[in-house]
Symmetry: C2
Subunit: 242 residues, 2 copies
């Protein structure tokens, strides 16, 4: 079976957390809106969001079509894919914990987006720049240390040689934490450089994931969309640490 991933074709966004899992799993997938391209791509994307005959419509991209099943919400998609592709632990309690970590990552991602859109997603950054300056300052001062400090502790307390967040094997949560660090490094290079000295385990995990052969091949391929100013992680120098 070939999965169909539905996501905006020009950004990494939340779709990237799914792409990383599919790439590490070497699962066959179509990145539907990108393959079709242009208007046809967007039309394909809107089909399940707006079609009146869709019984269980997703709220927003990304969503994944797996056979007849359509699954929305990033963390929900990963929870579905993980066990099918060896990217989730076996035991129920470990799976619950992995999903808990993923939901905390989702909260973190949402707060990243708020740094440049603290008033309204529908408005341009320039129309909420003043608010963004305040929001981003608080994000870097208070929220980044809270989140990264948390994941650093989780890695530290994973009794196994702390290479991964859960147990001794890579899970989808590790791939997502990799993506967060990659994104923060793009959006807030100065703040990220400071964080790298403090949250060594988290940044070491990022480096380790980046070097995995399938991930490295993916990152070097045209399938990896470059970070840009339309995604969740955007580089506005004025929002970065002084």
């Amino acid at each position: 079976m070939t999965y169909e991933l539905y996501y905006w074709p020009t950004i990494q966004g939340r779709g990237e957390f799914v792409r990383l899992v599919l790439e590490e799993a070497q699962a066959p997938y179509l990145d539907v809106a990108r393959e079709k391209g242009g208007g046809a791509g967007i039309a394909a994307l809107m089909r399940f969001l707006e079609g009146r005959d869709v019984r269980r419509p997703p709220f927003a991209p990304p969503y994944l079509k797996a056979g007849r099943l359509i699954i929305g919400q990033t963390a929900n998609i990963l929870q579905f894919l993980g066990p099918l592709h060896g990217l989730a632990p076996q035991a129920a309690r470990d799976r619950i914990w992995t999903h808990e970590l993923q939901l905390t990552i989702a909260d973190f991602v949402a707060e990243v987006h708020e740094t440049h859109h603290p008033v309204a997603s529908a408005l341009y950054y320039e129309d909420q720049k003043k608010e963004a300056l305040r929001r981003a300052a608080d994000f870097l001062k208070n929220r980044v240390p809270k989140f990264l400090g948390y994941f650093e502790r989780v890695l530290e307390r994973n009794n196994k040689p702390a290479r991964y967040l859960v147990g001794t094997r890579l899970t989808y949560a590790d791939l997502s934490l990799y993506q967060i660090i990659a994104g923060l490094s793009y959006a807030f290079p100065r703040a990220a450089a400071k964080s790298a000295r403090k949250y060594r385990r988290v940044f070491a995990l990022h480096a380790r994931v980046q070097e995995r052969p399938r991930i490295a091949a993916y990152l070097a391929s045209p399938r990896r969309i470059a970070f840009n100013q339309d995604g969740i992680f955007r580089h506005y120098p004025e929002l970065d640490a002084r």
Copy 2:
């Protein structure tokens, strides 16, 4: 087994989504920080958040202790409790869908909080009131219709006599949608009154849940904390619709 719910003792907050499930399930539980009260209550709450010997620390309240298992992240807790107490569907595909709806509810809840704290959770409302006015206006104009319109569609397209979000039986997602409507009605009474005329299925679900005997008994009990100005749903008249 008696569950232990760990959550801030003086607000409904995210803990309320868990309380509603435990109450509807008639599951024995201790609302730990409330039972202990005052400083001892908060100390109990912080124990698992900050204790150095906690191998898998939750990121934030609420978290649930079920035997030796500690589960954090509201949607994760509900996904755990639902199947144990007849508040989740049987089939895997239906459970995935229920969880998807719950995660969309979680996104909605996060945006409610942003209306009064668009700059920083750590600052007072008064210190971000100007930003809150802009954010809340966008929330009521664009986001509430998007979310409520979505859940209205979901109810409409559930082929069974559309009394619940999924299939023919109450799930934890219905209880959470009830709580959202209750909260919006407290925080934004004018906007909610307008929404009630437009999203009739959603508001009918709210009324139906409210009348369930166990929920009605809970709401009338001292266990239900009243909405107040410290929670997620706060009533600042200036943020409500004109």
